[in-house]
C-alpha cells in the first residue's frame, strides 16, 4: 500500500483504525521527500526525523487515548514557508530570513496541530510570496512534478508541487493574488482560497495584509473542505478575523447541483486565454449543466482594472510590511557596514531578491506624497468598484465559473524575463482577492503537453459551501 497515494482523509481513517501508525505515515512522507525532492525542490526545510518521530508518537498517544478523533489526526502536512513555526526555520524563501527561527506558531498551524497534524516540512515559495512561478525563491526554483522543465506556478508552488508529487498528504498555502489557485491549477491539485477573514493571519508573514489568506492544498475537494474546517477560526489576535456564523464546510460535500445558478464571465474568455484551457473549462461547465445547474454567460465589468489595482495595493502594503527586515532584530545582517544607514542599505540590498525589490520600490513610489491620490487611492476605489461588480453578479448567480489561469504551466525561466506577462497571468485570480471572495481550483483536464488544467469556481463572501458543492459534484462526475 502506498500511503502517499491516499488522500488525507483516507490516510486519517487508516490511522484511526490502527492499520497505520502516525510515525509510519510521517516516515512515508519523509521517505518520499528523500526520493524525489532532490529534483523537485518543493521544500526549503524538511523536519528532522527524530523530531518528527517524537511528534508522531505524541499524536499517536492522543489518538490512542481517544483525545484526538478528527479526520486529520496523525496525517503528515507540509506548511508554506511564510507561516511561523516555533523553533523551526521560517524563511519566506528569502535570504533575509535565512536564519529566522520564530518564537511562536501561526494560528492556522496551531489549529492543525490541535487537530493532530504532524508537520514534516516547510515548502518553497516565491520570495515573500511575490511571484507566480516559485522561481523567485532564494533557495532555487521548484519544478513541476508533471514535467520538470516547467514551473509549478506560485507563489505556493512548493505546497502544490509537494501534494502533486505525494511528498505530503496535504499542505497549507497562502493566496494574495492567486497564490493557491494558480499553482493548484498548474500542478493538478485542489486548493481553496477562503473568504478574507476566515483563517487567522496571525503568524503568516504578511505580503499584502488586506489580501492575504491562508488556505488548504490537497488531492481532492473532500480533503480541502476537511482542512478548511480545521484551520478556520475566529482569532482575537487578528483584528481582521471574522466571527463566522458557521465553520461547517464538510456538509457541502454533496453530489448535487440541481438548480444552482452558475455564471460564466464572457470577459474571461477573450484574448490571451489558451484554447485548450478554454475548452477544458467549458466542458467542465457542461458537466455541471448536465447535472442540473443553470449556466449562463454574463458581463463582468472592470476585469482589466484588477491587475493594476492589485499591484498598486499589494506592493504598497508590501513596501511597509517588509520594512521590518532591517538587520536590527532578527534575520540576515550584512557582514560589514559603516554606520546605521549603510547597514540598512547593504542588509536589504543583499537580503532581498530582484522581484521583492521591484515591488518594494513600486509600493514606496505609489505611497509617496504627490502620488498617493493618483495611485493608491485610485486603486482602493477600483477595489471597491470591483467588489460592487461581484456583488451585482452574486445577486444572479451562486457561483462564478472560469479558468484559474490563462495557460498551463510555463517553462522554467520563461516568466522571469517578462515580469509584466507574469503579472497578466494572474488575471482570473486577482479580482477574487480584491473583493475578498472565496475561490477553489479543481483539476479539469490536461493539455496536449500533458500539463494539468484547473477550473476555478468563485463564490460570494462566506459562501464557500456553494463552490465546495459545485467542485465536489464536478469531481464526482469524473469517477462516474
Amino acid at each position: 500500500m502506498d500511503l502517499m497515494s491516499l488522500t488525507a482523509v483516507e490516510l486519517g481513517k487508516k490511522i484511526k483504525a490502527g492499520e497505520v501508525t502516525v510515525a509510519q505515515a510521517a516516515f512515508a512522507a519523509l521517505d518520499r521527500i528523500e526520493e524525489t525532492d532532490g529534483e523537485l525542490n518543493c521544500y526549503v526545510t524538511v523536519a528532522d526525523r527524530e523530531k518528527v518521530l517524537k511528534n508522531a508518537e505524541a499524536v499517536q498517544k492522543r489518538i490512542d487515548s481517544g483525545e484526538l478523533t478528527g479526520p486529520l489526526a496523525g496525517v503528515p502536512v507540509a506548511i508554506k514557508d511564510n507561516m511561523c513555526t516555533e523553533g523551526m526555520l521560517t524563511t519566506c524563501s528569502s535570504k533575509i530570513l535565512s536564519n529566522f527561527y520564530p518564537t511562536y506558531t501561526a494560528e492556522a498551524v496551531l489549529n492543525l496541530e490541535r487537530a493532530g497534524a504532524v508537520i514534516i516540512g516547510k515548502t518553497n515559495m516565491d520570495e515573500f510570496a511575490m511571484g507566480s512561478t516559485t522561481e523567485t525563491s532564494a533557495y532555487g526554483a521548484t519544478r513541476n512534478p508533471w514535467n520538470k522543465d516547467h514551473v509549478p506556478g506560485g507563489s505556493s508552488g512548493g505546497s502544490c508541487a509537494a501534494v502533486a508529487a505525494k511528498e505530503c498528504s496535504y499542505a497549507l498555502g497562502s493566496d494574495t493574488g492567486g497564490s493557491i489557485r494558480q499553482p493548484s491549477s498548474f500542478c493538478g491539485v485542489t486548493g481553496i482560497k477562503p473568504t478574507y477573514g476566515t483563517v487567522s493571519r496571525y503568524g503568516l508573514i504578511a505580503y499584502g495584509s488586506s489580501l492575504d489568506q491562508i488556505g488548504p492544498v490537497a488531492k481532492d475537494v473532500t480533503d480541502c473542505a476537511v482542512i478548511l474546517e480545521a484551520i478556520a477560526s475566529h482569532d482575537p489576535k487578528d483584528s481582521t478575523s471574522v466571527k463566522r456564523e458557521s465553520y461547517d464546510f464538510t456538509s457541502a460535500l454533496v453530489n448535487e447541483v440541481k438548480g444552482m445558478r452558475i455564471g460564466i464571465p464572457k470577459t474571461y474568455f477573450g484574448d490571451g486565454l489558451d484554447r485548450e484551457v478554454a475548452d477544458a473549462v467549458m466542458s467542465a461547465a457542461n458537466v455541471l449543466r448536465e447535472k442540473g445547474a443553470v449556466i449562463e454567460e454574463f458581463d463582468l465589468g472592470l476585469v482589466d482594472y484588477a491587475i493594476p489595482a492589485y499591484y498598486v495595493i499589494a506592493s504598497a502594503e508590501a513596501s511597509s510590511n517588509l520594512a521590518r527586515f532591517d538587520g536590527v532584530k532578527y534575520g540576515y545582517r550584512t557582514e560589514s557596514c559603516d554606520g546605521l544607514h549603510h547597514m540598512y542599505k547593504k542588509t536589504r540590498s543583499e537580503g532581498f531578491g530582484p522581484e521583492v525589490k521591484r515591488r518594494i520600490m513600486l509600493g514606496s513610489f505609489v505611497l509617496s506624497s504627490g502620488y498617493y491620490d493618483a495611485y493608491y487611492l485610485k486603486a482602493l476605489r477600483t477595489k471597491a468598484l470591483i467588489k460592487k461588480e461581484f456583488d451585482r453578479a452574486f445577486e444572479k448567480y451562486d457561483v462564478i465559473l472560469g479558468p484559474a489561469a490563462p495557460t498551463t504551466a510555463p517553462r522554467l525561466g520563461e516568466s522571469l524575463q517578462e515580469p509584466i506577462k507574469m503579472y497578466l497571468g494572474d488575471i482570473y485570480t486577482i479580482s477574487v482577492n480584491l473583493a475578498g471572495l472565496p475561490g477553489i481550483t479543481v483539476p479539469c483536464g490536461m493539455d496536449s503537453k500533458g500539463l494539468p488544467i484547473g477550473l476555478q469556481l468563485i463564490g460570494d463572501c462566506f459562501k464557500e459551501n456553494n463552490i465546495i458543492r459545485a467542485a465536489y459534484t464536478f469531481e464526482q462526475s469524473k469517477k462516474e
Binding site: Y104, R201, S319
Partner: protein, 477 residues
C-alpha cells in the same frame, strides 16, 4: 526695530495610563529590565498583528470631550513609514486621515486675561522603544519596553502668542488629563512631551511667518526659555534681512540655545496609508454617551463648587484644585471632620511648604485624608495645641501616621491643669524680673517672652489660652 508678534502652536504627546500597551497585552510599567515587557507584536516579529486596546480609545475620547472636540465616530489608523532602530516595524501606527478628535478648544487665563486656544486634532498612536548608546562600547542597544505604549498627540491651532499663554495652555491640558486619570502628565519623566511650533511676524500682519519646530523641552521652564530664545533668534534673522528656515530644532537647556536637527528639505516622506491590519474604530452613540456620562468634575467646576459649597475663599479653592490629588484629599478629609477651612489651611500652608522643601509634586503626597481629618479634630477639640499640631502634621506628611495614636504615645496632649500651670508660671515670673518690670512699664510685648518660657517649661503642651490668662492674673496682681 519693528514690532513683532510671536505665533505659537503646540504638539503635545501624552502617555496614557493604561495597564497594557496599545496593540498587545504587554505591561506599560516603567523601569523593567530591558526587553522584559515585550512580545512578538511590540518587537515587530514577522507575522505578528496588532489588536487595539479599547481603553486607549476611551481615554482619547474622554480627553477630546473635555477639550470640546468633535469625536470622529468612524476613525481609522494609518501607518507612518520611517526607518529607525527604536521603531521595530519601521512604521508607526498612528492616525492621519481620520483622527479620533477634531476641532476642539480650551479656555486659558493669563495676566492678559482669558482666551480660547483651538485644538486642531487629537490622535492615537504608539510610542517607540528606547536606544541606549555608549554604555556598551561602540554598539547601541534597543530596549523595546516602551515600544507600543499608548500615546495621544494633541495638536493645537497656532493660537498662542507668548510663553505665558503656552504655559497656561499646558497647565490646562495637564489638569484636564490628570482629572480624567488618563495620564500623570509629567514633563520631566516624559509622560507629557511638548513640541513648540513658533514663527514671528510683524505686528498686524495677516500671513504667518516661516515656523520652526522645537523639540526636547522637558520642563515648563525650558519651554519658556526656548520660546524666548527662539523668538529672539527669528527676529534677529529678519532684522538682519535674512530668512527663517523651516526646520526642526533641538533645545539644549543646559546651554540655553537650540540647534537645527533637520530642515524641510531633509524632511522624510512618511508614505502614510491606512493600516490594513486594523479595522476602523467605530464609536457608537451609546459608547460615546457612556464615556460622556463618566466624565469627572473638572477644575473650573470644582473651584466654583468649593467656594459655594464649602465657603472657602476663592484663593484657597484655586490652590487646592491645582492638583486632582489635593482636591481629592480636601473633599475626603472635609467629609470626615466637617471643617473645610481648617483642612484647606493644612493643605495650602503646611502641605505646600513641605512639598516645596522636599522637591515634590502634589501627586507625590502619601498621607491619607483620614489622618488629616483626625488631626483637624484633635485641634478643634482642644486636645493638642497648634504648635504640637504642626509637629504631628510633619509626621503625617512623612509617614502617614495616625495622629491620635501618635499624640497618645508621645504624650503630646494639651496641659489644661490650671493649678499645675500656676505653680510653673509663678516660678517663671520670679526668675524674670526684667520682663515683669518691662510689662509693668507698659511693654505689652514682654508677656510674649514669658509665655514662650512657659511653653518651653511644659514642652509645648501647655494650653496657650490658659497660660495667657493666668500670666495676666499673676502680673496684674
Amino acid at each position: 526695530m519693528k514690532n513683532y508678534e510671536t505665533v505659537i502652536g503646540l504638539e503635545v504627546h501624552v502617555e496614557l495610563a493604561t495597564k497594557t500597551k496599545i496593540f498587545c497585552s504587554c505591561s506599560t510599567a516603567f523601569g523593567g529590565a530591558p526587553n522584559t515587557h515585550t512580545c512578538p507584536v511590540c518587537i515587530g516579529m514577522p507575522g505578528s498583528l496588532p489588536v487595539l486596546n479599547k481603553q486607549v480609545v476611551e481615554y482619547a475620547m474622554a480627553v477630546g470631550l473635555a477639550t470640546n472636540c468633535e469625536i470622529t465616530q468612524y476613525n481609522k489608523f494609518d501607518r507612518k513609514n520611517y526607518f529607525y532602530p527604536d521603531n521595530p516595524q519601521n512604521y508607526q501606527i498612528s492616525q492621519l486621515y481620520l483622527p479620533i478628535c477634531r476641532n476642539g478648544k480650551v479656555e486659558i487665563e493669563t495676566e492678559g486675561g482669558k482666551k480660547l486656544v483651538g485644538i486642531h486634532e487629537i490622535h492615537m498612536e504608539e510610542d517607540a522603544g528606547k536606544l541606549i548608546h555608549d554604555e556598551h562600547g561602540d554598539v547601541s542597544l534597543v530596549d523595546f519596553n516602551r515600544s507600543g505604549v499608548p500615546l495621544i498627540e494633541i495638536v493645537s491651532e497656532p493660537d498662542m502668542r507668548s510663553a505665558d499663554e503656552v504655559i497656561a495652555y499646558l497647565e490646562k491640558l495637564r489638569l484636564i488629563i490628570q482629572y480624567l486619570g488618563a495620564s500623570d502628565c509629567k514633563l520631566n519623566e516624559g509622560s507629557m512631551r511638548a513640541d513648540v511650533n513658533l514663527s514671528v511676524r510683524e505686528a498686524g500682519a495677516t500671513e504667518f511667518g516661516t515656523r520652526t519646530e522645537m523639540k526636547n523641552l522637558n520642563s515648563f521652564r525650558a519651554i519658556a526659555r526656548a520660546i524666548e530664545n527662539e523668538t529672539e533668534r527669528q527676529i534677529d534673522l529678519l532684522e538682519a534681512g535674512k530668512e527663517v528656515i523651516q526646520e526642526t530644532r533641538r533645545w539644549d537647556d543646559n546651554k540655553e540655545y537650540s540647534y537645527a536637527m533637520r530642515s524641510k528639505e531633509d524632511a522624510q516622506d512618511y508614505r502614510y496609508f491606512p493600516e490594513p491590519d486594523l479595522v476602523p474604530v467605530i464609536i457608537s452613540d451609546e459608547w460615546l454617551s457612556e464615556v460622556k456620562s463618566r466624565q469627572p468634575e473638572f477644575r473650573d467646576e470644582k473651584k466654583a463648587r468649593y467656594v459655594s459649597e464649602y465657603k472657602i475663599p476663592e484663593y484657597d479653592a484655586d490652590i487646592i484644585t491645582l492638583s486632582k490629588k489635593m482636591a481629592d484629599i480636601f473633599e475626603a478629609a472635609t467629609a470626615i471632620c466637617g471643617n473645610p477651612k481648617k483642612v484647606s489651611n493644612w493643605l495650602m500652608v503646611e502641605t505646600m511648604r513641605l512639598l516645596k522643601e522636599n522637591g515634590m509634586d502634589a501627586d507625590d503626597i502619601k498621607f491619607s485624608p483620614e489622618n488629616l481629618a483626625k488631626l483637624v479634630k484633635l485641634t478643634d477639640d482642644g486636645v493638642i495645641n497648634s504648635s504640637v499640631a504642626k509637629e504631628v502634621f510633619e509626621q503625617i506628611f512623612k509617614e502617614d501616621i495616625d495622629p491620635e495614636k501618635y499624640v497618645e504615645e508621645k504624650g503630646l496632649k494639651m496641659d489644661n491643669d490650671e493649678e499645675g500651670l500656676k505653680a510653673t508660671l509663678e516660678e517663671i515670673v520670679a526668675n524674670n524680673p526684667q520682663s515683669v518690670s518691662d510689662y509693668k512699664a507698659g511693654k505689652e510685648k514682654a508677656i510674649g517672652f514669658l509665655v514662650g518660657q512657659a511653653m518651653k517649661a511644659t514642652k509645648g503642651k501647655a494650653n496657650p489660652g490658659i497660660v495667657n490668662k493666668l500670666l495676666k492674673e499673676i502680673l496684674d496682681r
